[in-house]
């Protein structure tokens, strides 16, 4: 759907909040806690499609809000939104999709985020009756902006240093029925997962979301056998980006290696997997690749597409 950019708020030099409404001010579809939308961003030479968590309340159908961090070595989308987007722009925004819904059966939720990973939890806080404890880690210079986004409450703690978040102690004192949700940079999530594993935390009691993982990397060549096309995948773009730029329309949903929708059969070459979908056994079989985030260990790949 084409939405109108009605407000841009600068939170920090690297963080901006964007508000979208329908051009005719019609109600937007409800969007529950944890949803994301894919925003199509027009670049000078190509279009980007980036996924952003909605931070607005699920009951808000008047507008959608996203917070965008300007990525230093940006693929381009976040830089365009920060530098070129202006009030009154019309942008294509996909229907809300949810790959990170809070597991509602859990009586208690421990929400752990770092940096821009706070965004899905801003919508979690609107779920009626959700009993949660939130710990958010950020840089010192961003603390003011994040504090302003969060209600003042005893169950919400902001950390500006790893030293003040004693994860081992925090996880150890949780009750058995607590569920952990994590969102943030890979290194942060790996740290939480490793600490939880060390304490014997069951895998089913943790879930995570990651967007904007490593889509760039060494360039490689992809041969699409059925389409009879050869694509050069550059270091700043994903295989999915390159296929879309070539006019193809491969199925995809989250663009973050989580949902499994974009799985393509791999015929030759060795994949460099960055997704969260394929099991270790599937990776070892080397016969499938998630084209939104994964790349190549060999100079060339041959895909059944």
């Amino acid at each position: 759907m084409m939405l109108l950019l009605t407000n841009i708020e600068t939170l920090t030099p690297a963080l901006k909040k964007f508000t979208f409404t329908a051009p005719d001010a019609a109600p937007l579809p409800h969007a529950g806690a944890g949803v994301h939308v894919v925003v199509e961003i027009p670049g000078p030479s190509r279009k980007w499609k980036n996924a952003y968590s909605l931070v607005s309340s699920p009951e808000s159908t008047a507008s959608y809000q996203i917070i965008v961090r300007r990525v230093e070595k940006s693929r381009g989308g976040s830089a365009w939104l920060h530098d070129h987007a202006k009030q009154g722009d019309l942008l294509e925004v996909g229907m809300p999709q949810n790959l990170f819904a809070p597991p509602r059966r859990a009586p208690r939720h421990l929400l752990l985020s770092a940096g821009i990973g706070l965004t899905p939890f801003l919508s979690y806080m609107h779920v009626p009756g959700l009993a949660f404890e939130l710990h958010h880690c950020c840089k010192v210079e961003d603390a003011g902006a994040f504090r302003a986004l969060l209600p003042q409450a005893g169950n919400i703690t902001l950390h500006t240093s790893r030293a003040t978040l004693d994860l081992h102690a925090l996880l150890s004192r949780q009750k058995l029925d607590t569920h952990i949700s994590i969102c943030g940079p890979e290194a942060f999530m790996d740290f939480v997962l490793a600490t939880a594993a060390q304490l014997g935390w069951p895998a089913a009691k943790i879930h995570k979301e990651s967007f904007g993982g490593a889509t760039g990397g060494k360039p490689f060549v992809a041969h699409l056998r059925r389409s009879n096309l050869t694509l050069n995948v550059g270091e700043e773009e994903s295989l999915l980006d390159a296929m879309e730029a070539a006019g193809l329309n491969p199925p995809c949903l989250c663009r973050g290696g989580a949902c499994g929708e974009c799985k393509v059969a791999l015929l030759e070459g060795v994949a460099d997997h960055h997704d969260h979908f394929l099991s270790p056994a599937e990776r070892a079989a080397n016969n499938a690749i998630m084209i939104c985030v994964s790349r190549a260990q060999t100079p060339e790949l041959v895909l059944d597409f």
């Binding site: 579809p29 229907m95 809300p96 819904a101 509602r104 059966r105 949903l253 499994g260």
Partner: protein, 351 residues
């Protein structure tokens, strides 16, 4: 959409249920080919297609009032036919909103919904209901929101929670089922509740269907048709009440098969719910007596071939072993060997 509702007929005892000519022609006949086998026969639930039943988001027909009366009888006898687990509260309100909006949109002459913020006003004219309530406040409704609205919509419903890469049946309103029990299945995973189905597991049908449904998107509902056979037009063919209807299967004879045996078709719809991220599974059942169905020549011929060619394990699972030959013999005279077009359309506009 046009909807002429009949006074209530009965689905038990004297079984006064009959289909009018219009109802026969709009019946969602489930067999596009002369042979039937399990498949992932899922398609987008968009308006249009080969049967009028696909024209509405939630299809109602002339039997609306009778269906709802029968549901009320069943619930009075066994309240556990409607259960929703406590963590599904948001899914209950999602369901209420979706069903009210759909009915008011598709049948404005019978239903209306007015929203002033969270203060809602719902009018259901066929059932003489005029209800003011506060959205999100269950105490302002006479039943829980899911039970309240599913007492007013034809077809069974179940609520699937999605977590840990699996769907769990964590709620439902099930009073017209083809011999399965919500009270037994509630809380089960997708794999568990499909456990009894033969062949399809080995074919990988359920694995593929699950992967598909886990990615079901908001605003893009899907549908499929499923079918079985029922002795007499009875909605409540539940395991709990088997003593009431099981013996009726034994009453089917070569002489009465046309009148008593019914094809039972389920128009199944799957819709992603926005707040809860749960999936609403609608199981809209349609009954048609064999003699009614045989008034559409294409359907009589095709049904003859499907039942004649059916895999014995599927015939056993669908419980027709006892009267399968009666059906074949009843329909055989209609089948002159003609070649039938693919598809489920009746291909005739009157009877």
């Amino acid at each position: 959409m046009d909807l002429n509702i009949k006074p209530a007929e009965t689905y038990r005892g004297d079984y006064t249920f009959r289909n009018s000519g219009d109802a026969i022609l709009r019946f969602p006949f489930p067999f596009p080919d002369d042979n039937y086998m399990y498949s992932v026969n899922i398609e987008p639930h968009v308006r249009g297609g080969e049967t009028v039943a696909f024209q509405a988001t939630f299809d109602l027909d002339e039997h609306y009032v009778g269906d709802m009366a029968d549901r009320a009888i069943t619930l009075a006898d066994d309240p556990l036919r409607c259960q929703v687990l406590p963590h599904m509260a948001e899914a209950e309100w999602d369901t209420l909103e979706l069903l009210m909006e759909s009915l008011a949109h598709d049948y404005p002459q019978h239903f209306s919904l007015t929203k002033t913020g969270d203060e809602w006003h719902w009018v259901n004219r066929p059932l003489n209901i005029d209800q003011h309530f506060t959205f999100g406040k269950a105490e302002t409704l006479p039943y829980g929101p899911f039970e309240y609205i599913t007492r007013q919509v034809q077809g069974d419903f179940s609520l699937q929670d999605q977590r840990e890469n699996m769907l769990y049946m964590d709620g439902g309103m099930v009073t017209s089922q083809a011999d399965w029990s919500l009270n037994f299945d509630v809380g089960m995973s997708f794999t568990e509740w499909h456990g009894p189905v033969p062949l399809a597991h080995e074919m990988g049908v359920f694995d593929r269907a699950l992967q598909y449904l886990l990615r079901l998107q908001l605003g893009k509902p899907v549908r499929r048709l499923n079918w079985t056979l029922t002795a007499n037009p009875r909605l409540d063919t539940s395991p709990e009440n088997y003593p009431a209807w099981g013996p009726e299967k034994a009453s089917i004879t070569a002489e009465n098969v046309g009148e008593r045996l019914c094809l039972r078709v389920e128009l199944q719809t799957l819709t992603r719910l926005p707040r809860s991220n749960a999936i609403l599974f609608g199981i809209r059942g349609y009954l048609i007596r064999l003699e009614e169905l045989a008034r559409v020549r294409k359907w009589a011929v095709r049904m003859h071939r499907v039942i004649r060619n059916l895999n014995p394990q599927i015939a056993e699972y669908k419980g027709m072993t006892r009267y399968r030959q009666f059906i074949i013999d009843y329909l055989a005279p209609f089948d002159d060997g003609r070649v039938l077009n693919q598809g489920i359309a009746a291909e005739q506009s009157s009877l």
